[in-house]
């Protein structure tokens, strides 16, 4: 089929109006993607039978403005009134879901968790301490390394994730991407690590599989505690 004469200029003209100006940066797309995976995590907790799911910030329940963290930060930070979610299962310790917090690995090195669910008791220690305390990875139930890419992902991202796993003792850590990534998938499968691909709002089958995997994480938590 020959190219329609004005097609290329039509595409060029159509691009600008289709973009949300604040979301054209790669980092903004990634931050947004982390928030999306955070939402799937919360849905999974509900599906698994959480009796309470409260959206809150340090100062408010159901904050009128929900603030997501965009750079790796400390859970106890008061730089902004960051939002998080409290999750409670019947007769189990209360959990909290956060975005972009640093956690301490076995080596005491700090690592960023794009999305994490940890014991509230641990979060309270961090929040109430006079000094800067990072949660210990052994108190983290679930974590997600999120990658939103327009092209194939470099293998170094998979290697970095393996490095993260080798220094942390999180019950379940997932590597989640919005597209396929053959090399990383092969590497992580070979190493027996958890990963999901093609996770985006229109891919309902893949999203359902991820939600189920998160749900299994909550199920294991309920069994263990």
């Amino acid at each position: 089929m020959p190219l329609r004469p004005m097609l290329l200029s039509d595409i060029q003209n159509a691009l600008g109006p289709a973009l949300i100006p604040s979301l054209t940066a790669s980092s903004a797309a990634n931050d947004l993607y982390e928030a999306y995976l955070f939402s799937i995590m919360i849905e999974a907790a509900r599906t698994e039978g959480a009796i309470r799911v409260d959206f809150r910030s340090r100062t408010q329940v159901n904050p009128a403005v929900f603030v997501f963290r965009t750079s790796p930060g400390y859970l106890h930070s008061t730089a902004q009134d960051y939002g998080y979610v409290e999750i409670e299962f019947q007769g189990k310790p209360v959990l909290e879901a956060h975005l972009g917090v640093r956690i301490a690995g076995a080596s005491s090195v700090l690592h960023e968790c794009d999305v994490c669910v940890l014991l509230q008791e641990e979060a309270n220690v961090c929040r109430n301490s006079i000094t800067s305390v990072a949660p210990r990875s052994a108190r983290v139930i679930l974590s997600v390394e999120a990658k939103f890419y327009a092209g194939d992902l470099g293998l170094h991202l998979g290697r970095e994730f393996l490095g993260f796993l080798s220094d942390t003792s999180i019950d379940k850590s997932f590597f989640v991407v919005n597209r396929e990534s053959d090399s990383i998938e092969k590497l992580l499968s070979h190493k027996g690590k958890l990963w999901e691909h093609k996770i985006s709002p229109l891919n309902t089958t893949d999203v359902a599989r991820l939600r189920n995997a998160f749900q299994t994480g909550f199920k294991d938590f309920r069994a263990k505690y």
Binding site: M1, A14, P17, T24, Y36, A150
Partner: protein
């Protein structure tokens, strides 16, 4: 009749330029990294065609010298495939981001009564803060659909 190589290259340049004009350099960069890497596959190559260095791991190859041995190979993408990769990257950066913004906004609206804003804020000054504004997301729906339809037209013409 499919497009000529010259037409495909013209289309690639036009799309890459449009992306850069709208601050989507990262989209072009990521697409071009993928293109530079090529399509990775495993295939068999006769070991004697590859200079052996005599390291322990080459020992087995020496033993099977002349017989095909499994290697990781990279094939160059064709001009059509290169254009398809860039189109896919743009679809992801426009449609994918819009859908994600819509999903996050809808999720919080459904869960927080009287929600008036969604913000993304760094702790320091390293990154630009931004906000998700429902009105802005909804207002772009038609433009996103239109952009995707003209990209689809190009894909069908390749």
């Amino acid at each position: 009749m499919s497009l000529t190589v010259a037409e495909i290259e013209e289309a690639y340049s036009a799309l890459a330029l449009a992306a850069k004009v709208h601050h989507l350099n990262w989209v072009v960069d990521q697409a071009e990294s993928q293109i530079a890497l090529g399509r990775i596959r495993t295939g068999k190559v006769r070991a004697k065609e590859v200079p052996l260095r005599g390291t322990p791991e080459d020992e087995s190859e020496q033993m099977s010298k002349g017989r095909p041995v499994k290697f990781t190979l990279s094939d160059k993408y064709s001009p059509q495939e290169r254009l398809e990769i860039l189109i896919q990257a743009l679809e992801c950066a426009v449609g994918g981001v819009w859908q994600t913004a819509f999903a996050v906004s809808a999720f919080l609206r459904d869960n927080i009564p009287n929600l008036s804003g969604i913000k993304f804020m760094p702790e320091g000054i390293s990154k630009e803060p931004f906000a998700l504004v429902d009105r802005e997301i909804h207002a772009r729906k038609q433009a996103v659909d239109h952009f995707q339809s003209v990209l689809k037209e190009l894909k069908e013409a390749i």
